[in-house]
Point group: C2
Chain length 165, copies 2
């Protein structure tokens, strides 16, 4: 099965380099990076006044969805490294949006909750986020194209190892 | 467990925050970032021995495709900030892979070329890159899915302003 090499497909000479060079416009990683930067740039501009970075958004949304999750659970699910996550939570705590509470059973593990102010903040954050996301969906062509994009990205990510592993 | 809700406490109804919260799995920016990190991680591992970072790869490939391009032209086309680009070129020059030559007409503008060693290096780099890219295409399901993904990302990027603007 592996000996199925097409004629001429393995010949490389000094003169034929340019012909084999990839066009950046068809390189998956390059295009992903450009698109990710564009979406993040729009996100950051949209949230400039509220001072919410993408990672903070994800953490706040996750705490709001499931109050009481452990720090490690959220960091792992979002692919945020431990040191970065601690700094991020310090910031949210100092802004009075979220707090860490010691667990009843395992007192070393902190569970995360929104403060009442954090809950108000998250409601405003979601409304602002909808503007941004709808703008991105519009660029793509509609919700169907969004679903197609997510499905393709899920294929890339299938079986992804955790970033800390 | 419904008996714990105190009178006047917030109830999780249709109009309440949790119902409106986005699931991270369907957020465009979140998924793009995870997929981009996965592809870059594979790229960096693939190129660990050759010591080529994604931005260096793009610059080398672009100089190889079109020798003599100006620094500003490459930086702009790839969306690399001026300061980062200068540092990157310093690195490629000190490794003997590329050099900056003063233009005949505009002596302040440098045009970029590969050295003979750089040309050999780029041929090896392209062969290594093919392994990585084929692995990503395989994850996606095939070249057709790759084309679909690129087309969707191009929609997001249509009319993208230059990163320096």
């Amino acid at each position: 099965m592996t000996a199925d090499i097409k004629p001429g497909s393995r010949r490389r000479g000094a003169s034929d380099t340019p012909a084999e060079l990839p066009d950046k416009e068809s390189i998956i990683g390059y295009k992903l990076r450009r698109a990710q930067l564009l979406v993040f740039q729009d996100f950051i501009q949209t949230f400039a006044k509220m001072k919410v970075r993408p990672a903070e958004f994800s953490v706040l949304a996750m705490i709001a969805r499931t109050p009481g999750l452990k720090q490690t659970e959220i960091a792992e699910a979002l692919g945020i490294k431990r040191a970065n996550f601690v700094a991020l939570m310090d910031g949210l705590e100092s802004r009075g949006l979220a707090d860490r509470r010691k667990g009843d059973i395992d007192r070393r593990s902190h569970s995360l909750h929104l403060t009442p102010e954090g809950e108000r903040f998250v409601r405003k954050m979601i409304a602002t986020w909808n503007e941004h996301e709808n703008r991105m969906i519009e660029r793509l062509g509609g919700p169907q194209e969004r679903d197609q994009l997510i499905a393709l990205l899920d294929r890339l990510l299938a079986g992804e190892p955790s970033p800390d592993e």
